[in-house]
Symmetry: C2
Subunit: 374 residues, 2 copies
């Protein structure tokens, strides 16, 4: 069979305060068109349908409408799971009814074990989960991390494998070795750690959600679809789209989705940015992230640039290390606060704290400690 693999729609998301309703609807229209042109037998949505556990009414209406169009109007079967951004309980509403029209939605672990059967393929829909849910389900206190929990879940799934069919896993987690962008919640911190890809090798295809880069993982049969839109500056150069997967014989091609309004990074000087040759090239509806090459102070630069780029979403200095580039994972939290501060200052400014700055910092830290009763 042939299916379309997408994920991370994040309906309801805003980009630095800008509503993305139009962009999301335009991307969805393309997904529909691709599904029809490619004559897919099903559409897989691998989690994070919503951006928030508590989506707004408008977001609820928007997603409901999309699912209605895809499933009820176009008649495409849907295979979906909840991601870490979704509220499993809220997303679950109505799911017992959805099966009647082949809209298969799984938000709880117990249901993940039962495959959804197609003529030549079994789909296992594994929602985002925490280890405690696996401990409860299997009544096994040893399932303390995501790796041991997933190992147990996959073993259980394999008992249901029909040898005459292909086996597809739909899941939402971080696979070890993947590369990240800035717009994904770092869910592996405090709960969901990286999953080793060796646990996934028995499936004919693994349709992943969570990471927004389709090339986050370089494997033939274990893939992130990536998001449909660029949700952060670090995604500016990524190609967005969906995978079209044939299960037998296996084939996987990427079909691009073109953003209605692009996200563009401009690394320029202020004078270049405000020259007509420059700003006339950029649609006023594009989302623009500016990396300013100037070193001098420019008064009210963000507001001034907004006159030329109405949808400016961020402003950074190209020289001087950026906040985003700090390797958060390698911060040694065992250092004392003064040393942490000194390191941070150095990271940001490439300079050392002066004697006077050290004195101010020491005073502030000591005041804080007193307030906290330390």
């Amino acid at each position: 069979m042939r299916f379309l693999h997408t994920a991370d729609w994040h309906i309801g998301k805003k980009l630095h305060g800008f509503d993305l309703v139009e962009e999301q609807n335009a991307a969805f229209e393309q997904v529909k068109k691709i599904a029809l042109e490619q004559k897919v037998d099903a559409v897989v949505i691998a989690g994070d349908l919503y951006d928030r556990a508590l989506p707004s009414e408008a977001a609820v209406e928007q997603l409901n409408q999309m699912i209605i169009e895809l499933n009820l109007k176009l008649g495409k079967p849907i295979l979906a799971i909840s991601g870490n951004h979704d509220s499993a309980a809220r997303l679950d509403t109505g799911h017992e009814w959805f099966k009647a029209t082949q809209y298969f939605l799984t938000t709880n672990l117990a249901e993940a074990i039962q495959p959804v059967e197609f003529e030549d393929t079994q789909f296992f829909l594994l929602p985002y989960f925490q280890p405690y849910q696996a401990r409860n389900l299997f009544e096994d206190a040893s399932l303390n991390d995501i790796e041991t929990a997933l190992k147990r879940i996959v073993e259980e799934m394999e008992t249901k494998f029909d040898p005459k069919k292909k086996h597809v896993l739909v899941a939402h987690f971080f696979v070890a070795g993947s590369s990240k962008t800035d717009s994904e919640t770092k869910i592996e911190v405090g709960g969901l750690n990286a999953v080793p890809d060796k646990l996934l090798q028995d499936f004919d295809y693994v349709a992943l959600g969570h990471l927004h880069n389709k090339d986050a993982l370089r494997q033939e049969r274990i893939k992130y679809s990536g998001s449909l839109l660029k949700f952060s500056t670090s995604e500016a150069d990524l190609q967005k789209g969906v995978w079209i997967v044939d299960t037998d014989p296996f084939k996987c091609i990427f079909v691009p989705v073109i953003p209605l309004h692009d996200l563009i990074v401009l690394t320029k000087s202020y004078q270049e940015l405000i020259s007509p040759e420059m700003f006339n090239q950029i649609s006023p509806e594009s989302y623009v992230a500016v990396k300013l090459t100037d070193k001098a102070i420019i008064p009210d630069v963000m507001n001034n640039l907004r006159n030329y780029y109405p949808r400016i979403i961020s402003l950074e200095r190209a020289y001087g290390r950026e906040k985003n580039e700090i390797d958060r994972e390698n911060v040694n939290l065992d250092l004392d606060p003064m040393q942490l501060l000194a390191n941070f200052f150095h990271e940001i400014t490439d300079e050392e704290l002066s004697a006077e700055q050290k004195k101010w910092a020491a005073e502030s830290l000591s005041k804080l400690e007193k307030e906290r009763g330390l």
Copy 2:
């Protein structure tokens, strides 16, 4: 046909901080039992399924489970509408799928005009609405209040009347002449005004939601079902339950629902309340509203009473006028603030402001006005 008429479940509601999950589940179990014993052909839920537009995850799971049991497990058709406490958009999720199992849920006005057809009865499911929705639907700018809007809606419904069938309206509003309790949102203020009952006379039965007293309106064929639980002290003496309605020949009987834990008002002195003969009579799980007959000051009385009545929900003095009794609708807001305050003081204490109290009040009012720049 025979149907069960209920409304105002208010799933997720708390009673002065106490969770009502257990009470709501127990009431629901009785509704299920009544539906089976009475062999009803359908269950009508006339709005306010949830207590809030944004119900908690637990409330969402609880209501979903109830609907699944009633509709999918017992196989009872459901006819439901959104009330003023529900978010139409959120409640609507999945409704296109629900029809397949005869769960008919209407949250928008356009769908209200189309009857749901049963063998001998047509149901018109009219959700809670605002006049602007009728203006938009009918493109008629003259529909400025609820009365003219409803008149127009009913005219439209009547064009769909099948003369061979009975006609039932399910709606959620305040019908003129009904008596209120304290736990209903006063929706007629600022938008939804009272509906004259003459607009409803062409229906064989009108199944109403909104008011929590089954006897709020004394009409044979236009009835509130009332809520399933007592949600305020003013409901302590009301009988709760559901109507069982036969459409042909018309018959309407009330079947009580017994609260798992009752709400009791005790009008007693402190000494009486803390005597074993008294508190031993009252289950520690009952919700107790105390009207204290003492006039003297009793230190820390609420906390002391909680030792005997763990679920005490309110404490008032039986003598001295109560806040609830003030006739809010007759407050003249055109008076100046000082006069309003003096009237209020009189309402509460039956005394006049002293010269010194007047001076303090004048100082506070003048300070407030300055802060607001008046």
